[in-house]
């Protein structure tokens, strides 16, 4: 772990200011950033401890959805009655990931920003375009049974490791961020990105921006949903592949279908073809 400056702002404005430095990193639960710092994968010049920001609420959103503060922990979110009732797909995806200890520390914002589990990304002695742009991708042609099968590039075959984000993709959440130029909202599908020629960028946030909350739309999929995760052991392992599926039924027919895949691409992968094939179909095989 490198030596760094530690700051602990009380307001979002202060935090945004502190994050303006190019090598500053926001620290919340620490379950990924501290790990990355120990592996010397991330060497921030400044660590901005955002745990004291007022971002711990789950509140009704104006359009009838829910707004979830960036610092709400994964456990709080998964077990919140509003989530288990209206967005059970999200709850089951969260509970499929990590362990209770990690979920007690990891936050909503942090989960969106967690980095790939690609072996090479974590090993600074190997070439990795995500860790060190331009150095090459050791995973291509290497040990890569956990890597991308969709949307990969010549420069990166890493996958996004989150379970929660797969459900958020299916639910079409919105990510609310704040930076030096003000606030903006990013649709979930536009938040994470494919590696292309810039795999160092996992998402479309701008330098110095901070996630303040995410918003779940009013339109929920409370009744018909599943999160299915296939992994190398029965719990506490990253997905080899996972599926978040949610359906709206009318009169026994599928009206709307949402399908997102995890563990297969650089971002949670919405599958519009599958959704279209299922929508307005009788459903049962």
């Amino acid at each position: 772990m490198n030596r760094f400056e530690y700051v602990r702002p009380d307001t979002v404005a202060h935090a945004v200011k502190a994050l303006a430095d190019r090598d500053a990193r926001a620290l919340a639960g620490g379950t990924n950033l501290v790990d990355l710092m120990k592996y010397e994968v991330t060497r921030p010049s400044r660590v901005v401890d955002i745990n004291h920001l007022p971002l711990r609420q789950i509140e009704p959103a104006p359009d009838g959805g829910l707004t979830i503060g960036a610092l709400v922990t994964n456990s709080e979110l998964a077990w919140d009655p509003r989530i288990t009732k209206r967005y059970p797909l999200l709850a089951s995806a969260i509970l499929a990931g990590a362990s209770p200890q990690l979920r007690n520390a990891a936050t909503t914002g942090g989960n969106l920003l967690q980095r790939t589990r690609c072996y090479y990304f974590y090993d600074p002695s190997t070439a990795c375009n995500k860790r060190e742009p331009g150095s090459g991708c050791s995973a291509i042609g290497g040990v890569n049974r956990i890597h991308a099968i969709l949307g990969a590039s010549d420069g990166c075959i890493a996958v996004h490791p989150s379970d929660m984000c797969v459900a958020l993709a299916a639910l079409e959440a919105v990510v609310n961020v704040e930076g030096k130029d003000g606030k903006r909202s990013i649709p979930f599908s536009a938040f994470h990105r494919l590696p292309g020629s810039e795999p160092q960028h996992d998402n479309t946030m701008l330098q110095g921006e901070l996630i303040t909350s995410i918003t779940l739309p009013a339109s929920d999929f409370g009744s018909n949903h599943t999160y299915l995760k296939v992994r190398d052991r029965l719990s506490y392992a990253f997905a080899l592949v996972s599926v978040a599926a949610a359906l709206k039924l009318e009169g026994g027919e599928i009206r709307t279908a949402r399908v997102a895949l995890g563990g297969v691409a650089h971002k949670p992968w919405r599958d519009p073809d599958a959704e279209q094939a299922l929508s307005n179909s009788p459903g049962a095989p």
Binding site: Y6, V7, P9, V34, D49, A98, S99, P100, Q101, S235
Partner: protein, 169 residues
């Protein structure tokens, strides 16, 4: 806005096992290394230092958390319970007693983490069946393979709690 001083250290206050500590801590010190190396509280174990084994599990404000991934400065003001603080004086915590009775360990190295994790699990109140105990204890690896006995011990304490609660009602 609090920040590190020129010498890099940050003044923080932690209550560890009911004792208040006023400390000057470098921000790159984890809670795990703070208790083990600086406070000589070595009951909390380091099994991977990467948040992957659960041996370092402690209770922070009542919640089970991997202390190896917590920079101590980020928990300024928190109440922390480690394995050394679970017993009530000479009286062991029921989980400690059950772990001995069910032989829920061999080498004993993952044990403090297993017990603290189980204490968190009981407090959460979400595990009701054996399958749920197994799932919600999966963040605690045991290489000696004492899982069967650990589940027995936790189930035992869970049942005692349910029957005590029912008797009270």
């Amino acid at each position: 806005m609090k920040q590190s001083a020129v010498n890099g250290k940050v003044p923080i206050s932690l209550v560890i096992n009911k004792v208040r500590h006023e400390l000057d801590v470098e921000p790159w010190v984890t809670l795990l290394d703070l208790v083990r190396e600086q406070l000589q509280c070595t009951g909390t174990k380091k099994g991977c230092d990467q948040g992957q084994c659960g041996a370092c599990t402690v209770l922070i404000d009542g919640q089970r958390i991997n202390s190896c991934l917590v920079l101590a400065v980020t928990r300024d003001g928190a109440e922390i319970t480690t394995i050394e603080g679970l017993a009530d004086g000479a009286d062991l915590h029921p989980l400690q007693t059950a772990f001995i009775e069910h032989d829920a360990f061999q080498c004993g190295y993952c044990t403090p983490g297993q017990i603290c994790s189980a204490a968190g699990l009981l407090r959460e109140g979400r595990a009701h069946t054996r399958a749920e105990i197994r799932e919600y204890m999966s963040g605690n690896l045991c290489r000696c393979g004492a899982y069967t006995n650990i589940a027995d011990a936790i189930e035992d304490v869970l049942r005692q709690r349910v029957s005590t609660k029912e008797a009270a009602e």
